[in-house]
């Protein structure tokens, strides 16, 4: 086979195969690099570069897809959970107990989302619990029940969602949340599976 023809074949194969690989690896790469550049604490994860001008292009793209108009850490820290304390995916057919102490922050909330990243339709119109309305235990801690069926106390309905995720928003948080190292060890709410149907 003549050389120019071989070059043409190589170029065509590279364009088609390489283009396809480049295209289909966008989302996996976004998740991989976002996870690598982030910090995890139990089931919760975040990146302190969310929203900031120092975000790398992959994190910036991930935020555009999953958290457009997110504030930088100077104002708000967003922690997301897609799994429970055992690392298993949050599912709509399971009941969970979210418990912990109130975060050291000016204002906080925990919101549930469906697999499409939107609020979950439910008859109660309840999508979240925030520090301004949550009922605390006598020891100052809180429990939120993430469940399709009604629960006593701070019930967060999951409607007909199949897969779930949670966002913990911390507005003007204390210094322990600003630093990657301390954020790995600061106490964040536990997400405990109580059972599945």
């Amino acid at each position: 086979m003549k050389k120019p023809f071989k070059f043409l074949i190589v170029a065509l194969v590279a364009l088609v195969v390489g283009g396809a690989i480049g295209y289909f690896t966008v989302d996996p790469m976004l998740n991989l690099i976002t996870n690598m550049s982030g910090v995890e604490n139990g089931p919760w994860g975040t990146s302190l570069a969310i929203g900031s001008t120092s975000a790398n292009p992959y994190l910036r793209a991930w935020v555009a897809e999953h958290g457009l108009l997110a504030l930088a850490k100077s104002e708000t820290i967003y922690l997301h959970a897609y799994v429970d304390d055992n690392g298993e995916p949050l599912l709509g057919n399971c009941d969970y107990r979210i418990e912990g102490k109130a975060p050291d922050t000016r204002w906080w909330s925990i919101t549930a989302y469906g697999e499409d990243d939107f609020l979950i339709p439910n008859d109660q119109g309840r999508y979240s619990w925030s520090c301004t309305e949550i009922k605390l235990e006598p020891d100052g801690r809180f429990k939120i029940y993430l469940s399709k069926t009604p629960k006593e106390g701070n019930w967060l309905p999951t409607g007909d969602a199949k897969e779930l995720s949670l966002s913990l928003r911390l507005y003007n948080p204390g210094p322990a949340y600003y630093d990657y190292e301390s954020l790995k060890t600061v106490e964040l709410p536990h997400i405990i599976k109580e059972g599945c149907k």
Partner: protein, 337 residues
Amino acid sequence: MKKWIGWIGWTLLAIIVVAVIVNVVLVLRIPTDIMEVTLTERFNYPSNQWVFAPPATAERRTIVRPSPDLLYSLLLYDVSNYPLRLTAVIPDNYWSISGFAMNTDNFFAINDRQAKSTPIEVVLVRKGMTYQDSTGKVRVIVAPTDRGIILIRTVITSKADLPRLTEIQKKATAELVGAPAKEEVTKPPAAGGLSFEAVEYVNAEYGFSIKYPAAWVKGQPTGAQVFSAAATAKVPAITVSVREAASFADALKIGLAEAGGSNISVGSETQTKLADGTEATTAKADWTVKAGYPGETFALGVQKGGKWIVATITTVAMLVPYDEAKFSEIANTLQFK
């Protein structure tokens, strides 16, 4: 044999290089592409005007992962020609104003504690633009891109407090500094004595015609609608439907429900006569439009041959205020042969 191994190696290398280039180029484009779609398709509001959104619900699906505990005020800024002056009254709980460039970067945020006094005044300028502040109270922010989004977040402390917070939210203002005032030209009455430049829709099947503003764009009628058109901001919008129903109110309610509406409330009916002498009924309807926002509709119905021909002019007041005089004028251009 060795030559073939060499060619395979070069091919694999070329595949990797192309894959990396394609991947990086696509990733770099994602933020700006999503912002462009957000500005032009998801929101599509006039620029440099505040839009006061009600609290997020499962039905309002504009931005992913919204916080249902916040009141959002949104403004699509465009400072390519003039600085933009923004003012807002700050409530007595968490509040912030923030800016997002076209690459989604949050380029500034000021919260209620940092604002120190209320109302706050912020002037947004583009790179290279100057703004002289003689008062020393104005915060001048340089926007990294000429277009983008400004967002005000207000914590909803309780449902009972929502009306008060909404009132405060709506006190925010926006104006382009130094832009020539909008021309207040007194236009001569349009043809036919109408206050607007009109075009006419004629329906031969049911023998009627109706006029609507020439700037509105015809849409695709759905269900029992035979005609629809809307302003470029999507509201106000006109529809004309033909349907069998027991009453005017029923015909109107069915039409609004078919459009995805809910919480439909039809006000008292008024009997009127069209210019051609046809008996007609009018009413105002308040409802929640498909996107979850409060809608207001002026409706006019005429019963012909056992069917109701209903013209509706609808707006979402937080985008374009309800203008009963104009909406009524449009609806009353309905005429039969």
